[in-house]
């Protein structure tokens, strides 16, 4: 059984079986990922790309196999390994944004973005005088596409979240990319929440940049990637200087690598790359679409039950949305709710979920969020609803 491959799911928390429902924050790791990382450190640990000895060769192969796997799985021309989604987006801001954007240029963002797809652009805007336009979110939890079309006028870059980490709503990316391309704008997709639930053919998708993290798809923390089209890659200038990203260094100056290494200065995350490769290979052992379909059924059922308990639920739980249920009770504080759940072994998230502009639009300061992933069961969802029923009866 898939669930049995996750050692952490066997543990108890506060005397109760762990029900881990904070998957939009990070997912748990199957044994194969733990083994791969342990094997790397036990047998092959060395630095990459430099020495000729056997261990260095194995380490290099392990690291580069992650890039190869990403390129193959997502059909991408370029895959730059980063520390995660946040660094990937910052890399675009520094390496592409600083090279291409100047005062008066326009970046289109949405109110649905995670802070990691807002703050780097605000910093660039302050530095370069770039104009930021935000597409509002409607009361039905979707982007105002009419406003999006207006915002596109003169845009050089469009940054949009694939799937909201608060609402689970998947945005109409195909339409967004098509309309952005029509005005000549580059498109960056923050796919941190999207790719764990679905796969994509990057080249036919049409976006120029796609950022995501390993740890939200059963891989290790500390590693992620930026997929880039060759034409956008050619417009990027080096951002972080150091070892591994250079071709030659003299007192007079340096020349740079021409491949992805140009953007991977310093010793990279080798064990994490090895672990991520194992996770990506492991994810091919089951049907992700089928699992997603099962999870969205669960999330939609939970949402309906919670509405029945008097909760406000934020999201729509459509076929292509993520299995995320954000909710609030009218009288029970969300932090109190999460602590009460934790006391019974349920791990959920509370707070603003690093998406304060979205919450401001919704007129709230935070939610309780239960997010489901491939190892979660219907029984766990039923247990959550029962626990919440008890909490409401006792504390409302």
């Amino acid at each position: 059984m898939l669930r049995d491959q996750f050692p952490i799911l066997q543990r108890k928390v506060n005397g109760h079986p762990l029900v881990y429902l904070d998957n939009a924050a990070t997912t748990q790791k199957p044994q194969v990922v733990l083994d791969a990382m342990n094997d790397y450190y036990s047998k092959s640990n060395a630095n990459v790309h430099r020495a000729v000895h056997t261990l260095a060769g194995e380490a290099t192969e392990g690291y580069e196999s992650c890039r190869s796997k990403l390129k193959q799985r997502y059909n991408a021309e370029r895959a730059i390994l980063t520390s995660g989604t946040t660094e990937a987006i910052n890399l675009v801001a520094h390496a592409w944004g600083r090279a291409k954007l100047q005062s008066g240029d326009v970046i289109v963002l949405t109110e649905m973005e995670h802070h990691s797809d807002i703050v780097p652009w605000q910093m660039l805007s302050e530095e370069r005088g770039v104009e930021l336009r935000y597409v509002p979110v409607s009361q039905d939890f979707t982007l105002d596409m009419e406003a999006f079309e207006h915002a596109l006028d003169g845009a050089a870059l469009v940054c949009v979240v694939h799937t909201s980490n608060v609402l689970g709503v998947r945005n109409p990316l195909e339409e967004i990319i098509e309309k952005s391309q029509a005005v000549g704008a580059r498109v960056l997709i923050d796919a941190a929440q999207g790719l764990p639930h679905s796969t994509v053919d990057f080249q036919s998708f049409g976006a120029d940049f796609m950022a995501f993290s390993a740890h939200k798809m059963c891989g290790p923390t500390g590693i992620g990637a930026l997929l880039v089209t060759q034409s956008a890659f050619d417009e990027m200038e080096p951002f972080m200087g150091g070892g591994d990203m250079i071709e030659t260094v003299t007192i007079e100056g340096s020349t740079y690598q021409t491949n992805e290494h140009k953007f991977e200065a310093g010793t990279p995350r080798i064990a994490e790359a090895v672990g991520w490769t194992a996770a990506l290979e492991w994810m091919e052992s089951f049907d992700l679409d089928k699992e997603h379909s099962r999870l969205i059924d669960i999330a939609s059922w939970v949402a309906e039950q919670l509405r029945g308990l008097g909760m406000n639920v934020y999201g729509r739980h459509g076929e292509h949305d993520a299995a995320v249920v954000s909710f609030l009770h009218p009288t029970i504080n969300s932090e109190d709710m999460a602590h009460l759940l934790d006391a019974r072994g349920f791990a959920v998230r509370t707070g603003h979920h690093c998406a304060q502009p979205l919450l401001h639009r919704l007129g709230i300061s935070g939610t309780v969020r239960a997010s489901f992933y491939i190892y979660n069961t219907r029984e766990e969802a039923e247990a959550l609803v029962e626990e919440l029923r008890e909490i409401v009866e006792k504390f409302a």
């Binding site: 504080n333 932090e335 019974r344």
Partner: protein, 138 residues
């Protein structure tokens, strides 16, 4: 040092509870001990920084004794304030500043609370102690 008698009793009561949920429920009940600081008096001076929820405290002194007013939007934070209310009741500022923050840990509340909430508690404790020292004239 030893705690004031009422606080010592609370420490022992929490220590007797093994179940985390029951400890939380007891903490929630202690929220009723708070002498409420009305919302129209909340400002930057009263705000406890580092708390995940909105939390405000104000120290007053009447006839040499502490008047501790507080409020929060989470029942749990109010419970922590309730403990401080009991701990500070009837003390002079000079006596109160001698209370160490260790009681929360001894009550098992720092295990009960998330790290951020623990930090929030410590920030609240530090703010109260700083305000008390200012009232004492330190």
């Amino acid at each position: 040092m030893t705690y004031p008698e009422a606080l010592q009793e609370l420490v022992e009561e929490f220590q007797a509870i093994e179940d985390k949920r029951e400890r939380l429920e007891m903490l929630f009940e202690l929220a009723d001990e708070v002498v409420e600081l009305p919302q129209d008096q909340w400002d930057d001076e009263t705000r406890v920084r580092g708390c995940q929820s909105e939390a405000h405290v104000r120290i007053g002194i009447a006839e040499g004794r502490i008047q501790f007013l507080s409020a929060a939007d989470a029942r749990m934070v109010q419970g922590l304030m309730g403990i401080l209310t009991i701990a500070l009741d009837g003390l002079t500022p000079a006596q109160a500043v001698l209370i160490p923050p260790t009681f929360a840990e001894e009550m098992g509340l720092l295990n009960t609370l998330t790290p951020s909430r623990s930090n929030g508690f410590r920030n609240m404790y530090d703010k109260v102690m700083t305000d008390l020292r200012q009232n004492r004239g330190d």
